[in-house]
């Protein structure tokens, strides 16, 4: 899932300073799961904003709305009418959510309440770990399902550097050396031979990327221009 963290409250408050009517928009997908922008967080943030503005003698109308996915036009369109009653939308979606809203609702400013950080997975200790760099050239079949492009600080794909100590990464001593994890996993799978073959010069992607589904595009109008 996409992992995001809520911005410091002061920063959010400053972003909204000049607006009287604010719609706090949550997203029911990734940011709900990582407890950053779901229904609960929308309620808490909206209420905190109302209180803060009241204390400052600058009352604001703060509405709340959560849609299943902010990154899909059909869901964003569902809030178009309601949003038109507000001066600003505070999106608690990831960066894609904020931009999808900006793309669909052109006459109202959209502001981010979150910092989108990475594509990650949850562990059992309430931690979210970055595990996929969306590099566009997946090698997980070679590495026991553990990604060195993302989880090695140097993104090394032909084996570890010489810097690990006691199985820990030299860059962040809280992190295991991902190559040690790969080694352990491949040992269990009896697939250590894969390590010897691991060599590839990484290809670098040019941003922004695009994926085209021909079966969908043929039915629809082309993407609108600026």
């Amino acid at each position: 899932m996409v992992i995001a963290e809520i911005k410091p409250f002061e920063e959010i408050k400053n972003l909204l300073k000049k607006y009287k009517k604010i719609l706090v928009a949550g997203c029911g997908s990734c940011v709900t799961v990582c407890l950053s922008g779901g229904k609960k967080q929308v309620e808490l943030l909206a209420s905190a904003l109302r209180t803060a503005r009241k204390i400052e003698g600058d009352d604001a109308v703060v509405g709340e709305k959560v849609i299943p996915r902010q990154c899909e036009p059909k869901f964003v369109d569902q809030i178009k009418d309601e949003a038109s009653q507000y001066d600003a939308i505070l999106s608690m979606g990831c960066g894609a959510g904020v931009q999808e809203i900006a793309d669909r609702i052109e006459n109202i400013p959209v502001l981010p309440a979150l910092n989108t950080t990475f594509i990650g997975m949850a562990d059992e200790q309430g931690q979210y770990l970055e595990v996929c760099a969306a590099c566009g050239d997946c090698i997980l079949s070679m590495t026991g399902g553990i990604c060195p492009v993302t989880r090695c600080a140097k993104g090394l794909i032909s084996g570890p550097c010489g810097g690990s100590q006691g199985g820990l990464c030299e860059v962040s001593k809280n992190n295991p050396c991902v190559w040690q994890m790969i080694y352990a996993r491949l040992t269990k799978l009896n697939m250590l031979h894969l390590l010897k073959g691991m060599y590839r010069q990484q290809t670098r992607t040019v941003h922004p990327r695009k994926m085209v589904r021909e079966e969908l595009t043929s039915k629809k109008e082309p993407t609108k221009g600026v």
Binding site: G159, C161, G162, Q165, A184, Y199
Partner: protein
């Protein structure tokens, strides 16, 4: 005789290392190089060692060439993408630099500009491929060069990797480096000759010369610091004790290093002495080791 010739002659090869300073001052470093010149077959020049911004390796290598010293140009993947790496290699060649040591490089977060963007477009293995490709007269994109270099490429290996997995992977990667073109290896600092002997047995089949790394101990504190912070370096307690109890640190340091050199003579093809500021003592070490 240059470094490449020395290695192929079968003699026990000696390399040392100098680290450029932060700034434009080169006198001290060149003085050190002159002092050790007659005693060594090549002098490595580090590339922003420990990710600390400094004078560059290529310029210093060139100064060494001017003084009749065969330098080993250390080149890391930390700060340059594949365009810059290949271009710097061509530049190094026209400046008379013949030996390259390909390294991945430390991460910038460990140095004095921790917010610098880490590049790592290539790694040590793909950099060796790039060097081999340039030697063949082509760049990484397959374009033909007008005038090709003929570098003597080398790489590093860490025989002291502290877990079984880490050591196995060091050896696997060593094999990849050889496939990619590495013709010699220099190792991380070694203090335990028994462990090193075991390592050398493991890599015998590679038939590629290994120069065992020797770091001059300056104090007991330095030894403890390395044990805690430098991956693959382990100074055994008796040596730390010797450094602690000695009245003459230089003498003891030189004695320890000389014993390591002597011990390595039967184990590998040469030594790489990292004096880290004590370059002037390198001739003493070699004298005491009978070289």
């Amino acid at each position: 005789m240059g470094f490449r010739e020395a290695l192929s002659s079968g003699k026990f090869v000696i390399t040392a290392e100098v680290g450029p300073v932060k700034g434009t001052e080169t006198e001290g470093l060149l003085e050190d190089a002159e002092l050790i010149k007659e005693k060594v077959d090549a002098v490595n020049v580090t590339d922003l060692q420990s990710s600390v911004m400094r004078l560059g390796s290529m310029a210093v290598c060139h100064l060494l060439v001017d003084r009749g010293i065969d330098p080993v140009f250390q080149l890391t993947c930390r700060d340059r993408n594949r365009l810059a790496l290949q271009s710097d290699l061509l530049s190094a060649w026209v400046l008379g630099i013949r030996n390259v040591l390909a390294l991945t490089g430390d991460h910038p977060t460990l140095g004095d500009h921790p917010d610098a963007m880490p590049v790592f477009d290539l790694d040590s293995v793909s950099l060796l491929r790039a060097i081999s490709r340039l030697n063949e007269g082509f760049d990484l994109a397959g374009n033909q060069l007008k005038g090709a270099p003929a570098f003597f490429p080398g790489a590093v290996v860490n025989p002291g990797a502290d877990t079984e997995a880490a050591l196995e992977m060091q050896i696997i990667k060593m094999g990849k480096k050889i496939e990619a073109g590495a013709k010699f290896f220099q190792t991380q600092g070694i203090y335990d000759l028994d462990l090193f002997e075991k390592f050398m047995k493991r890599v015998e089949g590679f038939n590629t010369p290994v120069l065992g790394g020797i770091i001059l101990l300056k104090s007991a504190g330095m030894a403890r610091f390395m044990n805690k912070n430098v991956a693959g370096v382990f100074v055994p307690e008796p040596l730390i004790k010797e450094m602690e109890e000695t009245k003459d640190k230089v003498k003891t340091s030189v004695k320890i290093a000389a014993e390591l050199v002597k011990g390595m003579k039967d184990l590998c093809q040469g030594v790489h002495i990292m004096a880290i500021g004590w370059e002037k003592r390198v001739p003493m070490v070699l004298d005491e080791a009978g070289l």
